[in-house]
Each structure stands twice: as C-alpha cells, then as structure tokens.
C-alpha cells in the first residue's frame, strides 16, 4: 500500500500521541527472510532470526553464486533483499542493480547516474558508498555528489531526485539514508574540507525539505531548545555551540554526519553521531567545539534535539563520533532499561539510557587505548562525562609543530564506521576493531573552499607490545563494560558483523576472508577467501526456503589507503612479523558479491 501523506495528514500525525514508523519499512524489516535496511533493523542490531545455518553446520558452507559489480573501488555496505528482489549498489559511479532471486539473479533493471567525476577529487578517503535504502516501494540512493534519487523498486524508474549538498565546497556523501515515517533522513561528509555538518529530513513523497539541523552554530539552526535539550541531565543553555568556538570558526568547523542512523519508534527519536571538528590542528580552534563528536537524539518529526552527549570535547586526534548507535532493551541491576550502545573512534565503548541520555558505562574496548585514563562518571563533578586526557598524548597541550608519539588509537579509531552486531541470545556485542596507534603532528593550515583542510601529519603503526596485528574482532558486554573475548587479526577488521539465531557471528577481513565464529566462544568455525579484501557488511536472507549469506568484496576505503602499502616498511628481519606485512601482498582491487549456502535442497517445512 502506498503511504503518501499530504500536509494535513502529516499535521494529524504530529498531534497524535502514537508514533508511527514508516509502515512499509517496518513491515519489510519484520520479515526475517529479508534484509530490508542496511543496519538489519531500526535498532542497528544487525541480528537475524534465521537459524538454518548454525554453529553445527556452518563448516559446510559453500559458494552458491557470485556477481561482479564492474566497479573497482572500495565496496562498503551490503545488498538489500525485498521479496524476490536483491538490490546491489556500487561505489562511485553509484550504480544500482536489481537482481531477480527467483530467476537465477537475472538483472531486472540497472541504474547508473551521471555524476561529475570532479566529486571524486573531494572525497577524502576513497569513493565508498554504504548502500541503498527501501521505503514505500522505492529504492533510495544517496550518491557521492549528494544527489538523492528515489527509484521505483520494481522498474528502476526515477520518481524524484534532489541535491542535498555542494561538492564545490567539499560536501559529498558516503552514507546510506534512514527512512522514518513520511521522511528520509540524510547526512553529509566532508570534515576534512571544513564542511559544516548537518542532518536533513526530506519528505518521502516528493523529496521536499522538511527540517534541517546543523551540528554547530546558532540554536535555531541546530534545532536546539536551550531549556529542553539536555546534556547529561542538564539543559544545554543558550548559544551552547557558539560559546564553544572562537569567532566564526564553527562555520567551517566540521561535525559532519556521515555515519549510521538508528531509530526508536516508541520514543520517536533518531540517533546518530557527529564527526571531527575541522581542522585536525586543535590549536587553531580553541574551545570544546560543540557539538562535534556528539551523540544526538532528535525528534523524528521536527528534528528538535532531545539530548546530546559530547564524547570528545575539543578533539585532538580526529576521533569522529559517527559510529552506529545500537538500541537494545536489557536488564541492569534487575531493571529493564532502554539502552544505546556506541563504540567510538576514541576507543571507549559507551552505554547510555537512550530516553534521557544518562551516561551509564564508558570503558575502553581495546586495552591499548592510552590517550585517556577514563571518563569522569561522578554526576556531582564539574568534569562529569569528560574524558581525562593524558598530557603526554595530548596534541593540543604539546602544541603545533610538535610530534606527539605513541598515541593509541590512531586517527582511524579503535573502530571506524564498520558496524557491530548484537545478539539478544548472548546479550553480547560483536565488534570489528582496529588495533593501530599513531604519531600526530599538528600544524597551521589555511582554509580554501573545496580544498583539504587537514592541518596534521600522522603516521600509523600496529599497537606496540601486542600481537603485532592491526585488528581484533571482539565480543563486548555493554553492561559490565568488558571484553568477553578477542580474536587477533592481522589487519584492521573493516567489515560489518552479522549475528544470527544460529549462534554464529560473521565478519569479513581485509585479506578477503569471510569468517564465521561461535557467538559464545569466538571459536572459528568457517572461513573462505573471496576475490578481494572485504570492507562490506555481512547480510543474510531466505530465498525458496533456503538461507543465504551475502558479502561484498572490494578492498579500499580508508583501510585501503593506510594499509595497502603496509604501515611500516617490511624490512629484512622485521618482514617476518605478520602485522608489518602489507595488504597488497594478499589481495587486489575488486568488486564482487559472494553468496553462500549449505549444500542440498531447502529443508522441508516444519
């Protein structure tokens, strides 16, 4: 059923006490045989109820079929499956293919937008795209050049097309979009170009703008109510952002919104994080630089901010706060709580009450993290909620033109955008992580519109005095704030995880392996090397009564830049140390979907 709202209906909906999520998205997401949204569900759990493939038989997994996208750059995100149709997207030029799963994957339609290739030049870290979204019979693709196009899901015909940003000043897109109710919520990339971050909601019916909320600037432009927008239990007060910057720097101050979005239909709140303040040279932007590096909870209808929590005030390391917010209902001290769990680039795993923004847990999810001794958890303290910065690793305190050495994690964070998964069966989070440290030297830069605005030199290396590898795949207890188990990986784990009711967790590696591990113990149960390194996210679906696992290969992204040549020279004598070996010794560019199955026919019903 079409769900087109006119403004009268929208007004009615606003006044209604009941929250309606987008009916079509809710309906399709509820079917566990589909993969109707990049994040698995609105809560971003990346958990599937499917259990045909389980910890006992996953060792028999084999390749069912493959599909080449014809594009050779970093492939992030995953396909969607709605009904019999699979939707596969690519990095720039952002092609979309609709494959008929009931007809041997025949291409029903393909869409290739015409984009000015100049946009590639202002994408900071490869031309990745984290996938399409589905709503109201439409496939939504937010292209690199910030064009948002709505395609008829059955025919690929353009329904409407709008432009959400300006690549001439460095505004680009890499993220997926979030359809909520009658709107679609959209972010922007470009923190390395001094872009002013914001989130915009457009009406699904025709692409017209509904609301826009900047991350920095005057209260009205941020959709902040100084009395009712809360930060750790207190109103943020007037001009909370303007007071935290010197002069007009907030205008080119970053706080971009290129990560994942989640939604709680009961609270009607949308959750996301904001990115680094621009530039990377902290001395050039005194103050807390609000609201960069912040978890935001906003009303889905109006965009008004319910609460903020700034994780890394006055960032000195490029620890963007954009990673996914995973929404779960779990017990703490015998009481059921509505939780939000977030694994930040800064190396801290946060658990908050998602209704109020109360901070419950903030603990390191990689023991290597050394820039902070921890977060002040005392509500009476004037530093409540702030991380205590270790002087030795403070690039601001050491100052411009000083090389601060041995900071853990590196700028790519203990975890980047690659999303974690949550299993309600184990109450554990499965987190792909980086295990990389850095030297960081900030220096003065000038701002030129549309040009990189970075202001620091950094060099990265595997975490010292550890296993020598550059990644870990961990299981995390978000209530205790503890690592349950940790699997060392030679390279950063840059692939989104999938947890299933079959008691297994899947993830990909930069060498190109798809791996399945036991959700309880982490024991490796299966691995298969796909044609290129994996930075995509694992998904699952059912077709013809049979469960399949899908993963995009195609090495690239930030991992492809930093790791392609290896982080340190594989000198004689040191080359034997696994972690120093370069990724180019293991894999090459590619662009391929690999779909896995168990041997044999679909199990009979019942």
């Amino acid at each position: 059923m079409k769900y087109l709202l006119n403004s009268a209906a929208a007004a009615l909906l606003l006044s209604s006490a009941t929250a309606y999520a987008n009916d079509s998205v809710m309906a399709e997401m509820a079917k566990s045989e589909q993969w109707a949204i990049q994040t698995g569900d609105y809560a971003n759990t990346r958990y599937s109820e499917l259990d045909q493939i389980n910890k006992d038989n996953v060792k028999d997994l084999r390749v069912a079929w493959t599909f080449s996208t014809g594009v050779l750059r970093g492939h992030e995100g995953s396909p969607l499956v709605i009904g019999d149709m699979m939707y596969v997207h690519t990095p720039f030029p952002n092609k979309v293919f609709a494959l008929d799963l009931a007809n041997d994957g025949k291409i029903v339609w393909r869409y290739e937008p015409q984009q000015d290739p100049e946009v590639i030049a202002v994408m900071c870290c490869d031309t990745v795209n984290r996938g399409v979204a589905y709503a109201d019979g439409m496939i939504l693709m937010h292209q690199a050049d910030t064009t948002l196009v709505a395609l008829d899901a059955m025919t690929g015909e353009e329904k409407w097309k709008i432009v959400t940003g300006d690549p001439a000043i460095g505004e680009t897109n890499t993220a997926t979009v979030l359809p909520v109710k009658d709107k679609v919520i959209v972010g922007v990339s470009g923190g390395e170009y001094g872009v002013r971050g914001r989130v915009t909601a457009y009406n699904l019916a025709d692409g017209s703008e509904a609301w826009k909320a900047y991350s920095t600037g005057p209260d009205d432009e941020m959709l902040v109510d100084p009395e009712n927008t809360m930060h750790l239990g207190k109103p943020v007060g007037p001009d909370s952002s303007l007071n935290s910057w010197e002069g007009d720097q907030w205008k080119i101050g970053g706080g971009t919104t290129w990560g994942w979005y989640s939604y709680d239909p009961d609270l009607n709140l949308v959750y996301y994080g904001t990115g680094n303040p621009s530039t990377w040279n902290p001395s050039q932007r005194p103050g807390d630089n609000k609201w960069s590096m912040t978890i935001m909870a906003r009303d889905a209808d109006t965009g008004m901010a319910k609460w903020f929590y700034q994780m890394t005030p006055h960032d000195e390391w490029d620890f963007d706060g954009v990673n996914e917010m995973i929404l779960t209902d779990q017990e703490i001290d015998g009481e059921s709580r509505k939780l939000l769990t977030h694994f930040d680039r800064n190396g801290l795993g946060y658990t908050l009450d998602r209704e109020t923004g109360e901070l419950l847990v903030a603990e390191k999810f990689d023991p290597a993290v050394n820039w902070t001794t921890g977060v002040d958890m005392d509500p009476e303290s004037e530093n409540y909620g702030r991380p205590a910065v270790v002087e030795e690793y403070s690039t601001a305190q050491n100052g411009e033109d000083t090389n601060t050495t041995g900071i853990c994690p590196a700028a790519l964070g203990s975890k980047d955008q690659q999303p974690a998964a949550f299993s309600p069966k184990t109450n554990l989070f499965y987190v792909p992580t980086n295990h990389v440290c850095m030297d960081y030297e900030p220096f003065r830069v000038a701002y030129t519109a549309g040009q990189p605005y970075v202001g620091a030199t950094l060099s990265m290396f595997p975490a010292p005095e550890s296993h020598g590898g550059m990644g870990n795949f961990i299981a995390w207890d978000n209530v205790a704030g503890e690592i349950k188990w940790s699997l060392p990986e030679q390279f950063s784990v840059w692939s989104g995880a999938l947890a299933t009711a079959g008691d297994i967790v899947f993830y990909g590696t930069l060498e190109g392996y798809l791996k399945a591990v036991d959700a309880e113990t982490g024991e490796e149960l299966y691995k298969f090397k796909t044609p290129s390194g994996i930075i995509g996210n694992v998904m699952t679906y059912v077709q013809g009564g049979k469960q399949y696992i899908g993963i995009l290969s195609g090495v690239g992204g930030w991992a492809g830049i930093g790791l392609a040549a290896g982080l340190t020279n594989p000198n004689d004598g040191l080359g034997a140390v696994g972690g120093y070996a370069s990724l180019s010794d293991y894999t090459e560019l590619g662009g391929q979907l690999t779909v896995f199955e168990l041997p044999g026919d679909a199990p009979s019903e019942g």
Binding site: V71, G74, P93, E118, E192, T405, P452, S459, G562, A565
Partner: protein, 178 residues
C-alpha cells in the same frame, strides 16, 4: 612514559634494520635528471638546473625543506596516495612517479589536477594550484618524494632534520599570507 620510551626504541630499531638515511652515490634518475644538490635558495636545495632536490648533512639529517615536504605530503597527499609516497589501492605511488616524470610535468599535474575516468577506472586528482597548504610547499613535497624514490630517505618520519632557516620562514610567511 613507558610506552613512549619503548616506542622510541622500536622506531630506532626499525631505522637500524632499514637503510640509513643518507645521500646516495648515484645521483642520476631513470629520467636522466642529475639530482646532486648545487645551491640553496630560501632554505631549499636545487640542482644545477634549478630543480628542487634534497641534501643530507654529515650527521645524516635531512634538510628542513625536505622534512617539511614530508609533513605537507602526509597532510595533503597521503589520503589518496598513501603513507610515505607508497601509493594506495587506487592512487599511484608518487615516489615512483617522480623518478619518471619531469619536474615541470609534476608541477602541472599538481596545479591542474588529472582525470582518468573510463570503464576500467575512476581516477580524479583535484587541482591544487590555489591551495596554499600545497602550493607554498610544492618544491618541498617534490624534494621529499625524490628522497623517497631514491630510497635515500626511509619510510616514516625523518629521524633527523636540519634547522628551519630565517629565509625559509620569511618566504613561507609571505606565501601563506598572499
């Protein structure tokens, strides 16, 4: 404190195991250019033809301009071309490019950018001619890439650097404030 000390020790070990940073005996590149430093201007070294080059002193310290090239490269270029001029999954290794390319061609590509968009690849390099963070230091970046290309300078941050001269500073201030 402990971490830093051990890390410094590790970095030192890497240097020892690797190549010592020093001017090599061979000074002619595959493209025929002689990179022997001949004279200094505004704190930068040039060969007899006025092409930027690098110079190590007797203690193995690289000249400041080349060190500065390392910093600017790592801020402006590495997000595509990878650390230390080594290339990435999609952008070429510039430490190799400078051995083949002529200095003036190098300048032209950096100033105007480059596009190779076809069915096989989507490569676009922006034009940096108006970006002071790049253009004020283009000779430094070039000299740094030369030093990387000849392997006279090992990967990573140069271990020792010469002093920043007053005339380098003056020229920098005047360029950045233009």
């Amino acid at each position: 404190m402990n971490a830093t000390t051990s890390l410094a020790a590790l970095a030192f070990a890497v240097l020892l195991a690797g190549q010592a940073a020093a001017q090599s005996e061979t000074t002619t590149l595959p493209n025929g250019m002689d990179i022997t430093p001949d004279y200094q201007e505004y704190g930068r070294w040039y060969n007899a033809e006025g092409i930027p080059t690098y110079k190590f002193d007797d203690e193995g310290a690289i000249d400041f301009a080349t060190f500065n090239g390392y910093r600017r490269y790592s801020a402006e270029c590495h997000v595509c071309h990878g650390p230390d001029g080594e290339g990435s999954t999609y952008a070429p290794a510039l430490k190799e490019s400078v051995l083949r390319m002529d200095y003036y061609d190098f300048q032209q590509v950096v100033a105007s950018g480059k596009q190779e968009v076809n069915t096989a690849q989507n490569q676009v390099m922006p034009a940096f001619g108006t970006n002071k963070n790049v253009w004020c230091y283009i000779d430094d970046i070039y000299a740094y890439l030369l030093a990387r290309g000849t392997d006279d300078l090992p990967r990573g941050r140069p271990a020792k650097k010469g002093p920043k001269s007053d005339e380098f500073r003056e020229q920098e201030d005047s360029c950045m404030s233009m």
